[in-house]
């Protein structure tokens, strides 16, 4: 029984006098812990790479990705050539209130247009604001970390 008393007393003195090592709580919001680079915080979109193939929307278990697009014709490279048809993205919304943060959409995209970013502070006061449209998703791209080095 005295061992238990000693443990609590010594913890108390260690936390008061040596806080760097022993104080475990972080003074949020003044100090923040940085998550690891692979942490699944929010999904970023690279609109240039997206070809509106709809694979992510189909594979999402919650059906929280809303995509609309249309086909545009581009002028042929030389006169008389083939008219190229390109898909343009009109709407790409992810509803983060429904999102499970599972990552299937990121994994399944054949054109590497979606990326994970460890940002986690995007809480809103209205639930409708949790629907991020394509410009906001493009904005998250800046926070995507580079590929981390791998273990040998």
């Amino acid at each position: 029984m005295t061992k238990g008393l000693w443990v609590t007393l010594s913890t108390m003195f260690k936390t008061i006098f040596l806080p760097k090592k022993h104080l475990l709580t972080v003074n949020y919001p003044k100090e923040k812990e940085t998550p690891v680079p692979r942490a699944r915080g929010v999904i970023a979109l690279d609109q240039e790479a997206c070809t509106v193939c709809m694979l992510c929307a189909r594979q999402c278990p919650d059906w929280c990705i809303y995509i609309e697009g249309h086909k545009e014709e581009q002028a042929p490279a030389e006169p008389g050539g083939r008219i190229k048809v390109r898909a343009e993205l009109d709407r790409f919304d992810i509803d983060y209130a429904l999102c499970m943060y599972c990552g299937i959409c990121v994994e399944v995209c054949p054109f590497d247009a979606l990326f994970w970013s460890p940002e986690y502070e995007f809480s809103e006061e209205h639930m409708g604001d949790m629907l991020h449209d394509k410009d906001r998703l493009q904005g998250w791209l800046a926070t995507v970390p580079d590929a981390p080095a791998l273990e040998q």
Partner: protein
């Protein structure tokens, strides 16, 4: 002091009003200070920080904020509850604590009312809190509160006896039951009574932990089983009474222990004329040490089961306290 103030306070009613105001001021202050100390110390024992946001870096305003929060909560009374009993119960509990405050000697002559049966009065009045707890448990039409109230009744009554028997040794050594009389007897003898009454002191501390319903004896509250026991249905202002009463009671029972066993407001080596000013400081220092021990025990130990608690009281503490009385009385007569 200017003459007219002294003459004013000679009037019985003015003095009474002044004393009441002082008591009413001190109890919440002490309650909040001890509550804050508990939050900070328990946090440090668990690698945490404790309150730090309210009131700047140290978080000293945390309990004031808590008090304001409790004040502005809705006053809910369950429909099936017994309304008059429900409302009076917190008052009984706080009354026991406030009444105890009256006989604590803060310095030579600095006592609210020096009763010649001070110890007897203190121990008797502290039992009123028991009735308050029972009333709280029974009147909140809630089976959990009922169980908490019954457990509290059993526990508090069982631990009244060791509490009372433990102090008899000190009374025998001092020869008087008045609280300031016991402190003066320790000053005359030159040593605090704890040196001879170690057993009595230990029994008193254990019994006072049980009277306060603190872990390891907090079966009546038993947060993880009965969701606050007899306190379950109390919200807002009424809960604040119980909350304050617990912390203020920690102070008063520790102060009684300090007075009876540790020498009260006196330290060996301090000249008698400075005791008027240094006395309260010394008393607060000693009380703080005891309160720290109570906080330390609370966060280290788990709780006893009800029957183990009762076994401890009836089979161990009461015989030890009785033996203590017999040995002290015998030695006092023959030495």
């Amino acid at each position: 002091m200017p003459d007219f103030v002294v003459n004013l306070f000679d009037n019985f009613w003015v003095a009474l009003g002044g004393k009441l105001a002082l008591v009413a001021l001190m109890i919440p202050m002490i309650g909040m200070a001890i509550g804050f100390a508990e939050m900070k110390l328990s946090a440090k024992m668990q690698h945490r920080m404790g309150p730090y946001f309210a009131g700047g870096r140290w978080g000293w305003a945390q309990l004031i904020a808590d008090g304001v929060k409790f004040f502005q909560k809705e006053d809910l009374i369950p429909e099936e509850a017994d309304r008059p009993v429900f409302k009076i119960a917190p008052i009984f509990v706080l009354m026991g604590t406030v009444a105890l405050f009256v006989v604590i000697p803060f310095g030579p002559g600095l006592i609210f009312r020096d009763l010649s049966v001070g110890v007897f009065y203190a121990l008797a009045i502290s039992s009123i809190s028991t009735i308050g707890i029972l009333m709280a448990g029974w009147s909140s039409a809630n089976k959990y509160s009922l169980m908490g109230g019954l457990r509290a009744a059993g526990q508090l009554i069982a631990y009244e006896l060791p509490l009372v028997l433990a102090v008899v040794g000190s009374i025998i050594l001092a020869g008087t039951m008045s609280m300031s009389g016991i402190v003066e007897a320790q000053i005359d003898a030159g040593y605090p009574y704890v040196i001879f009454q170690v057993v009595g002191f230990a029994v008193f501390m254990i019994a006072s932990l049980a009277e306060l319903s603190r872990i390891p004896f907090d079966m009546p509250i038993a947060e993880s089983e009965l969701v606050m026991g007899y306190l379950t249905e109390y919200t807002g202002f009424r809960f604040l009474f119980f909350f304050l009463a617990e912390f203020a009671n920690m102070f008063t029972l520790s102060a009684i222990a300090v007075t009876l066993f540790l020498g009260g407001y006196w330290l060996p080596g301090i000249p008698a004329d400075t005791l008027e000013f240094a006395g309260p400081v010394i008393l607060l220092g000693k009380v703080f040490i005891l309160v720290f021990a109570m906080i330390w025990f609370r966060w280290t130990f788990p709780r006893f089961r009800e029957d183990q608690l009762q076994t401890l009281a009836w089979k161990w503490l009461i015989p030890i306290a009785l033996a203590n009385i017999m040995i002290t009385a015998t030695l006092k007569v023959f030495l």
